[in-house]
């Protein structure tokens, strides 16, 4: 279960809501649990509907609290996830480096993001299970980068098991969200929480970007 509420309130400058999506079994929950609890459970069960996790982090001189909504991969639960797309600030799009179909299904996932989330919402492509990919890689780094570039997002390979690039992935999506805010506001990063991302996803989003 998620270890929610890792920090008391009033101690953050920004709150970002992040949705983690992708096929069943690609490693979404392992990734988010590694971030929020710093553990790797080999006996983790399938996510049903949606799970919530929280993580407090530092980005440059800002204290950022990430609300992470970890969704189930099965199609039938996407109606549940849809409610959580609203007001999201970033999307982590996951696939399994050792399972090519999960890479091939990315187009369907990105299409869903286009339909449900804020136009131009920052996305990050994550290739999970880089440890297993050493012996059983089914998606090359080059083709994943090419796909990410085509969809205007960054790509990062992670291993929740070996704690590889997990923090970096969440740092990257946080950075993308800040840059998105900067683009939309047309000015430098706000310094106070009043100028933070609108959590309802209503204000400060007049522009539309082609990103996912």
């Amino acid at each position: 279960m998620a270890k929610a509420g890792s920090s008391p309130g009033g101690d953050c400058d920004y709150i970002f809501k992040i949705i983690v999506i992708g096929d069943s079994g690609v490693g979404k929950s392992s990734l988010t649990v590694r971030l929020s609890e710093d553990v790797f459970y080999k006996d983790y069960a399938s996510t049903i509907a949606i799970d919530f996790r929280m993580h407090q982090m530092q980005y440059m001189d800002k204290r950022v609290r990430l609300q992470i909504w970890d969704t189930a991969g099965q199609e039938r639960f996407q109606s549940v996830a849809t409610a959580f797309y609203r007001g999201a600030n970033g999307v982590m799009l996951c696939f399994d480096l050792t399972h090519r179909p999960s890479f091939q299904h990315l187009e369907q996932w990105v299409e869903r993001v286009k339909q449900q989330a804020l136009p131009g919402i920052p996305c990050l492509l994550i290739g999970c299970k880089s440890d297993e990919a050493r012996d059983n890689r089914q998606v090359t780094n080059d083709e994943a980068i090419a796909w990410a570039k085509q969809h205007n997002m960054f790509f990062i390979e992670t291993s929740a098991k070996e704690k590889e690039n997990v923090q970096q992935a969440f740092q990257q999506i946080t950075k993308s969200i800040f840059e998105d805010m900067k683009d939309r506001n047309g000015k430098n990063l706000p310094t106070a929480r009043e100028g933070s991302v609108n959590l309802e996803g209503q204000a400060n989003h007049k522009e539309k970007k082609s990103c996912c």
């Binding site: 279960m1 069943s24 079994g25 069960a45 919530f52 996790r53 039938r76 549940v80 059983n136 309802e200």
Partner: protein, 374 residues
């Protein structure tokens, strides 16, 4: 651990909901299972590929099976053997019942039945039990769409609203209504997904199986949430107090949601059989009072008559909300005259007062006019 390369089934090429029954898939799967008594499937020679109908969702089943039965079968060899049985059981039943659809959580329900029955009955006897449960008690969960399961959550919330309007309204106000699906994994897995206490699970299964409808879990969930009333209200108050510092409603929702979803693990998991029995007794009381309501709410939701918004969008919960507001009115306002005589007297007095007011107003108006004219 076997990888997905070991998959012995193929995904359907296209959606064919009305295609011919998959006799070939069933018979081949049956043959394979019979040969698995002594040799686990993972070590057997790969059988020919089989096309399974879409309702089986073999790719999702495979991903779920690889993450199943950890707690029930801690010994690796046994767990692998049971996973093989579980997968074959799921696919055989679903291939045979194409109107039933695999959902994440069904593997946990069948896994628990397998765990309970395996020491006493041969595998071939367990399969028809799961098949029967799928077609009866788990029917709402395994419909093509999630809506039938969602309808149960809305029905459960309606029971909450009838029994404890304040709690229902506070949950909705902080954004944790039925639309968040906070209880979906409890309901559609009969709590197998949420708790490891096998004694509690056994008692719950007895209660849910004995119920002739599929709504016992709805009433139990309502009873369970109601029993945690004080804890829930405290969590909501704490989250609102915290949000008060940073002014963030979304944070309140996230805080309460993260707490409420842990309720089975933090509370139900540690209950004694006696306390579970008390919850079941309360569930039975709720069932006696609200059977019609639950059926009505289910149909309302499925017919699209309940907007996924909240308390005031729903007639039953709206009534509960209004009742709550009623309680805040001054006592004398809340006590309408019960006797006809008193009602008549009040009406007469009201009419007399209104008539007097009109007469005085008209009189003063005439005087004013007269003054102006003069």
């Amino acid at each position: 651990m076997h990888t997905r390369d070991a998959l012995d089934v193929q995904e359907p090429q296209a959606s064919h909901p009305h295609a011919a029954p998959p006799k070939r898939a069933v018979s081949q799967l049956s043959r394979r299972v019979k040969g698995e008594g002594s040799v686990p499937a993972a070590s057997a020679s790969p059988p020919p590929a089989i096309i399974l109908p879409e309702n089986c969702q073999p790719r999702v089943v495979d991903a779920d099976i690889q993450r199943s039965l950890w707690a029930l079968f801690p010994e690796t060899t046994k767990r692998m053997e049971m996973r093989s049985h579980l997968k074959n059981m799921l696919l055989r039943i679903l291939a045979h019942h194409r109107d039933r659809h695999y959902y994440q959580g069904l593997h946990e329900l069948m896994g628990y039945v397998l765990y309970v029955m395996a020491p006493h009955r041969p595998y071939e006897d367990i399969l028809p039990v799961c098949e029967r449960l799928l077609c009866t008690r788990w029917r709402s969960f395994s419909e093509p769409k999630l809506a039938n399961s969602e309808a149960l959550l809305y029905a459960m919330h309606a029971v909450l609203a009838e029994e404890d309007a304040e709690l229902a309204m506070k949950l909705e106000k902080c954004g944790v209504g039925p639309e968040t699906h906070y209880a979906v994994s409890w309901v559609i897995t009969w709590y197998v997904h949420c708790i490891d206490n096998l004694v509690v699970l056994g008692r719950l299964f007895d209660f849910f199986i004995a119920d002739e409808t599929d709504t016992a879990v709805v009433f139990f969930t309502a009873a369970f949430v109601l029993s945690e009333r004080e804890q829930l209200l405290q969590w909501i108050a704490d989250a609102e107090a915290e949000a008060g510092e940073i002014g963030d409603d979304v944070m309140v929702m996230a805080r309460v949601y993260s707490k409420i979803t842990t309720l089975p693990k933090t509370k139900l998991e540690h209950q004694t059989v006696e306390s579970v029995n008390r919850l079941i007794e309360r569930s039975i009381t709720l069932r006696r009072k609200y059977t019609e309501l639950v059926q009505l709410e289910k149909h309302n939701f499925l017919d699209g008559n309940v907007r996924k918004l909240g308390l005031l969008a729903n007639r039953r919960t709206r009534n509960a909300a209004l009742r709550l507001l009623w309680r805040f009115l001054p006592r004398e306002w809340r006590s309408p005259a019960s006797e006809n005589k008193r009602r008549l007297a009040l009406l007469t007095t009201g009419i007399a007062l209104a008539a007097a007011t009109i007469a005085i107003t008209m009189g003063s108006g005439d005087k004013g006019g007269h003054h102006r004219l003069s």
